[in-house]
């Protein structure tokens, strides 16, 4: 007998709005061929509506938690979760998307008629990832992951004339599909071992029964981590990242990397910390190993790059390691804080890269940033704050984020990992400083860079967020403290 799942449109309304927004962008384009600005308003509108609905869901969810009515936090017969974790993840994705679209404005405009495709793909990618952070079912999670990833592959290669972008897109696609296959194999093994597909079901099963063949489950966990590790570019699964960051259109890389990290780590933390947490003793050392490898490899390799985009890619690997440290700390709020703070810094940093590349060349080579403080104080100043934020200097959100995950890891008994992590952050200082040195301490008399208003807005938001969350950490920490998974 097949049971029809109960349907509650409200739970997935934000995702529906985004998907409809994507369709609307395409249809409006086909019907009226408007200027890109109109399409951007349609896309922006759907993001705003989705965000508004998510905020309402947040309020409803906290009421439900306060009333002890945990049942109302699941929908579609437990396929979809509406807990604080999912809702915060969605909000983080939407914020990154909104900033990403604004930062990539020039990119969409330059695409001409294909700009509509770009905007639609962005909305679809966010829809997929949004489903992913909210899903309780591993197959459902896989669907979300694929919807999001495939949209990103296409986005990476959207500028068909650019051979570098083509290469990046193909690489991203091949590696990414491979990772997805590994992930779904891991899900299959989990099912084989437990007959459970839902995350909550797995959690109950594993804490309620003694598993006769833990080996299958452990292998399943391993494959899932490997698959998602690809998506978040954790070492040693990071090899695609530098090429993709370098080749994909600058305007959109920040968004792509940001949402992939948020969704990937949300899935990793949800699966590892709520579904299979009874195996923590077995898999945490391995996660710690990935964390160490990512932090050290990412920081050291970033140090030797002469290309800002590759540098940011390797710094992304290092950040994956730092967030993995938070996973080892088994506390989701530290991870969520880190994800949002980092994603926003990343989008902002790539907005600067895009603006620099808009005036001259690819915006990649370190030498293009020479004397940027003269040519555009706004760009240089914002990038400095964002880089210092990524480096984790105090008074930025990056410091609070790092402090949070380090403290969690220490409190969970991984003192050595924290020591490795603080040393890796020092290595990381060195390459963030290199960019700042080039911008401020070397002079260059080339032309001033005109910064469009929308980019100024994005940078302003990113810088303010970085500083405010750094100086008044409670402004975000109080929020993530409520964003607990069921």
């Amino acid at each position: 007998m097949i049971l029809t799942p109960e349907v509650s449109w409200l739970a997935i309304l934000p995702d529906l709005v985004l998907a409809l927004g994507a369709a609307a962008v395409l249809l409006v384009e086909v019907q009226w061929h408007p200027v890109t600005r109109v399409l951007a308003w349609v896309a922006g509108g759907s993001i705003a509506i989705a965000a508004g609905i998510t905020v309402l869901q947040w309020l409803a969810a906290s009421d439900a938690v306060a009333a002890g009515d945990l049942g109302s936090l699941t929908a579609f017969s437990g396929m979809i979760l509406m807990d604080g974790f999912a809702i915060f993840g969605r909000l983080a994705l939407l914020a990154t998307t909104a900033l990403g679209v604004a930062a990539g404005w020039q990119f969409f405009k330059d695409l001409g008629r294909r700009g509509a495709e770009g905007l639609a793909l962005v909305l679809l990618a966010t829809t997929g990832f949004s489903i992913m952070v909210a899903s309780n079912n591993l197959v459902m999670l896989f669907l979300g992951l694929e919807v999001g990833s495939i949209a990103l592959y296409v986005l990476a290669g959207l500028t068909r004339e650019d051979r570098k972008a083509d290469e990046a897109a193909i690489k991203y696609f091949l590696m990414g599909s491979f990772a997805s296959a590994i992930f779904i194999y891991g899900v299959a093994l989990m099912y084989a071992g437990t007959r459970q597909l839902t995350i909550l079901g797995l959690g109950d099963f594993l804490s309620g029964f003694i598993v006769s063949s833990p080996g299958v489950i452990l292998i399943g966990i391993g494959l899932i981590v490997v698959g998602l590790g690809f998506k978040v570019s954790a070492a040693p699964f990071h090899t695609w990242a530098p090429d993709v960051y370098q080749g994909a259109p600058a305007g959109i890389v920040g968004y792509m990397a940001g949402v992939a990290k948020i969704a990937g780590f949300a899935a990793i933390s949800r699966i590892l910390l709520t579904a299979v947490d009874d195996f923590e003793a077995s898999f945490l050392p391995a996660i710690a190993g990935i964390a160490v490898l990512s932090m050290l490899l990412g920081s050291v390799l970033a140090l030797v790059q002469s290309d800002v985009r590759r540098m940011l890619a390797y710094s992304g690997v290092a950040h994956a390691g730092f967030i993995m440290t938070g996973v080892v700390g088994t506390s989701t709020d530290g991870i969520l804080f880190y994800l949002l703070a980092y994603a926003i810094q990343l989008v902002g940093a790539f907005a600067v890269v895009a603006a620099v590349s808009g005036s001259s060349g690819s915006g990649s080579a370190l030498s293009e940033y020479r004397g940027l403080s003269r040519r555009s104080p706004v760009l240089a100043g914002s990038l400095t704050v964002l880089l210092l934020g990524m480096a984790g200097l105090p008074l930025t959100s990056g410091f609070v984020a790092k402090f949070g995950v380090f403290a969690d890891a220490w409190f969970n008994g991984y003192e050595w990992l924290v020591i490795v992590a603080v040393l890796a952050s020092v290595i990381a200082f060195a390459f963030y400083l290199r960019i700042i040195v080039i911008m401020y301490m070397e002079d260059d008399e080339s032309a001033l860079i005109e910064v469009p208003g929308v980019v100024r807005l994005v940078l302003g938001i990113a810088v303010v967020a970085t500083l405010v969350w750094g100086i008044i950490p409670s402004s975000l920490l109080d929020v993530v403290a409520d964003a607990l998974p069921l």
């Binding site: 200097l393 380090f406 003192e415 603080v422 040393l423 020092v426 401020y440 950490p473």
Partner: protein, 510 residues
Amino acid sequence: MLTALVLLPVAAAVVVALIPSRRRELHLPVGIALSVLPLALAGYLFWAFQAEAGYQFAVDAVWYEPWGISWSLGVDGISLPLVLLTALLVPIALGASTAISKRTKEFVVYTLLLEAGMIGAFLALDLFLFFVFFEAILIPMYFIIGIWGGERRIYASVKFFIYTALGSALMLAAIIGLAFNYSEQFGTLSFALEDLMQVTLSGGTERWFFAAFALAFAIKVPLFPLHTWLPDAHVEAPTAGSVLLAGVLLKLGTYGLLRFNLSLFPEASVDAVPIMGVLAVIGIIYGALVAIVQPDLKKLVAYSSVSHLGFIVLGTFALTSGGLQGAVIQNVNHGLTTGALFLLVGMIYERRHTKEISEFGGLQKVMPVFAGFFLFMTFASIGLPGLNGFVGEFLVLVGSYATLPVLAIIAAFGVVLAAIYLLWAYERVFTGIPDKEENRVLLDLSPREIGLLAPLAALVLVLGLYPSVLLDKIAPSTESVLDHIESTTDYVTPEPGRLDDVYVAEEGDS
């Protein structure tokens, strides 16, 4: 009020930043004028400060409750002189920066932010807050060296940044570890110094934490063999940067050792006395020997810093009343005299665009006022009785003789060596006949430059003749540090090590 003291420089920086770039002639004067406000406030603080142990004017506001971090400031006899020194040196350093021709506005803003960070670090009573200030200081200093420095400024600034960041990174790990131990023992999280002092640590853990803190501060001091960043940073930094670096930034290291290492890890501190003492003495002798052979005047002063700061560390780890008081007052002395020496080197550099000692000669005849100030500061730095350096070094040597007699005797040779390298440098630069054409036409100090040096010279004299104006306020606090060590460990200060004995000795000598 302490909050105001930290935020005033920030407000001043904002004001300067808001002055439009086309009014560039205004940036420096406004910056100087505004930087006098914190000085006035610090002066009031000094006047209102009661000579008692414990923190005064304490401010405690919750920053983020679940983490147990708070905006917690307070001043005691150990931090008071340093706060005053910072507030004094910033206007002077800015006043000495008229030669800064490019990007004046940014320079003034960074200097004022640096001041806020330094004062904050001296006042912070919460380890999280302290760490925030401690790290935040790096950024403005990094820019000051990197933008307005000499030829190898980028190398020097990055080296400075990485060295200090490396030290503080491990300290961060230790801070987290301390808070973890506190939460295990007391059930809540807290980063307050007072709370963390109550944590009982196992011997091994305490040593590790001590080492992590000591590394951070030893790099900052800098203690041999971690000093290699200092000459580079000093030589490349602009005059104001050198003055603040030597005058205040290095004091964060000695202050940190005294405030945090001794109080948080008393057992490990007592165990570490021989190591720290030996390193300090190596620094004293090594710094002095290297200073002797320096052909560059600024490098000479930089290495003399390594030597002088060795005295402060030696005094701190002597764990006697005299040693601790000497360490605190020597912090101030070194800030005044070395700050002044860097100013003087900067002034001659602005005129001759060289710092090579061999380029000078016979300046006494051309620039008598300059030579007079230089000689005065040289004597103060050597420790001539009647000037401030004597008081500090004497207290340190007497204090450390009680516990580390051999090291104290060796360290005393550092005083002799200081006389050699400073007086020899003076001889080569100032005496004889001015045989180089360029040297004959040099202008003597302008009234502005005299105005910058005069307050420093006056303080050198006051502290030399009447040190108790400062010592009386310092003593209760350093005594309470010793009390804390004696009450938490089985360490007993050997006779004559505590306050009364030292005072008797001092009076008997003078």
